[in-house]
């Protein structure tokens, strides 16, 4: 494959797939953080 094909491939797939995976990971982390905080709140209330 030529250099230009590799650059376009990495650029396009990197931005589109990379962006999608980045946002999925960010959403998973935020959901986990929210559920952890929710758990802590419940512990505090129960105490």
């Amino acid at each position: 494959m030529s250099l230009s094909e590799i650059i376009v491939g990495i650029l396009v797939a990197g931005i589109v797939w990379g962006g999608f995976i980045y946002f999925i990971i960010k959403a998973i982390k935020l959901e986990k953080k929210k559920s952890d905080n929710h758990g802590k709140e419940n512990i505090t209330i129960n105490q």
Partner: protein, 485 residues
């Protein structure tokens, strides 16, 4: 207020991704890439994802969550009473598309059944097979089946219907595409197709038509500006974020397009003995050539084993049917939610809309020229819908909208001032540019471009849009009075 909300972020995301991912990602995307110089097309396509699709998807999410109403109510609350007709136009365009999209979904279901039964791969002349099917009465039966499936899902409600079905179908769609992806890229000579897919050519990259086609693809297949995401967003919980979810939908939709594009380019270049590029780029009747004529021919040549060929052909049409069904469901929901906003209950509204959807879809099922006309008129009308949505945001106050509605306390990602510049100037300019280009282009392919009774030209678009806009302007006061916000 609603009694139903999506149960989680993932339920909302999968349902909304189901709107965005449709047949356009699978058959239109590959064709447009082939017609516009492969890798050269992908560069503007990614740029317009960022400057057109993502800002509009953010706006739709925010409008739905803020107003809790389908487009008419959403426009009334944000743009003001005088502009409720614009919301009605947005809702009407998506509903008019629903009438013929149900027919298209029916075609996918028919080919899935033909593939599963082995009839499709045993056929020697696929063009004749398509012509015999599409010119008979069978499309009406399959249109009925598609509309029935969609209506049952909507009848069951947001959680038990839309969310449950979308979770299953969208997850399965991604898994099927990944299986097809692995098979396609391991076919001999698949690399030739992948190389073409990513090869940039300067002469295409400097051609303005390639850029306008890239913008059109983003406008049509991400679901941005249709009013559908706005409708689903009315069912998101108050604590749900807007910007992160919107970005996930935009990038997720284009990721699936990319996956489907690589599958099709690899398969066609590996298995086609003729000119592969011409096979991908040929339109065929109603742009169906690649999907319903070329690919079935190629699936029958995939290997020496009929079982293997049947499996991959069936998986492809299963993925296509899932993509079509989840989009159809969202179009029915938009129309149903509009009636709910006027005080009707979900079950009655679903029965009315699915009945009307079936009746008004029959002309498209029986006459492909009618379908092509409707696809042209309302497909281009979607660009106008996108412009109306940006108008509503700007009328409310673009920066006020960003600060008070998008960047509310529940947001996970802060949307910066770039949103103001994009929505205030860039999106309206792009919409006007795109609309003008399509309408002016249509005068060059029809000598009687002014004739409203021709299939695809300026006259038929303006004629049908103006009738609809005139009616909604006449009943604007009634719409405003009957809808509560």
């Amino acid at each position: 207020m609603h009694s139903e909300f999506f149960t989680s972020r993932w339920g909302l995301i999968l349902s909304t991704l189901g709107i965005a991912v449709g047949t356009g990602n699978i058959w239109r995307f590959s064709r447009v890439v082939a017609q516009n110089g492969g890798g050269s097309f992908l560069i503007p396509w990614v740029i317009f994802l960022l400057i057109w699709s993502v800002p509009l998807i953010i706006s739709e999410f925010a409008l739905g969550k803020f107003t809790r109403k389908a487009p008419i109510g959403a426009f009334k609350k944000t743009a003001g009473d005088k502009f409720a007709w614009m919301g009605a136009f947005v809702a009407f365009v998506s509903t008019a598309i629903m009438f013929y999209y149900s027919v298209v979904t029916g075609w996918c279901l028919k080919y899935l059944l033909s593939s599963l039964s082995g009839t499709l791969l045993n056929t020697s002349n696929h063009l004749q097979y398509w012509n015999e099917f599409s010119s008979g009465f069978y499309p009406v039966y399959f249109h009925f089946l598609a509309m029935m499936i969609g209506a049952i899902v909507i009848y069951k409600g947001v959680v038990k219907g839309i969310e449950k079905v979308s979770r299953i179908l969208v997850s399965m769609l991604v898994v099927i595409l990944l299986i097809l992806f692995v098979r396609a890229i391991t076919l001999p000579n698949a690399i030739v197709g992948i190389k073409y897919f990513f090869t940039p050519k300067l002469e295409y990259l400097i051609n303005y038509k390639v850029w306008l086609n890239a913008l059109t693809q983003n406008a049509w297949d991400t679901g941005a500006g249709w009013g559908l995401i706005l409708t689903y967003a009315t069912y998101m919980k108050q604590k749900e974020d807007i910007a992160l979810n919107a970005s996930l939908i935009g990038f997720g939709n284009n990721s699936i397009s990319l996956l489907a594009g690589i599958i099709i380019f690899s398969t066609v270049f590996a298995l086609s003995s003729n000119d592969a590029l011409q096979q991908i780029s040929q339109s065929g009747p109603a742009n169906t050539g690649l999907t319903f004529i070329v690919l079935p021919q190629l699936f029958s040549k995939m290997s020496d084993s009929l079982i293997v060929n049947l499996t991959f052909s069936s998986l492809f049409f299963l993925a296509l049917s899932f993509a079509a069904l989840t989009s159809l469901i969202s179009m029915i929901e938009l129309a149903v939610k509009t009636l709910i906003d006027f005080g009707m209950n979900r079950k009655t509204a679903t029965i009315i809309i699915s009945f009307l959807g079936f009746i008004f879809g029959i002309p498209s099922a029986l006459n492909i020229n009618f379908l092509i006309n409707q696809d042209w008129v309302w497909g281009v009308g979607l660009i106008l819908s996108g412009a109306f949505i940006s108008f509503a945001v700007n009328k409310y106050g673009t920066d006020k909208f960003r600060k008070e509605i998008i960047n509310s306390s529940e947001n996970d990602i802060y949307v910066g001032r770039w949103y103001f510049w994009f929505m205030k100037y860039l999106v309206p300019v792009l919409a006007i540019l795109l609309l003008s280009w399509w309408l002016v282009s249509s005068t060059s392919w029809d000598e009687q471009w002014w004739n409203p009774f021709h299939r695809e030209n300026l006259g038929t678009s303006l004629f049908q849009w103006l009738i609809v806009i005139f009616i909604f302007l006449m009943i604007n006061k009634k719409l405003v009075k009957k809808i509560s916000i």
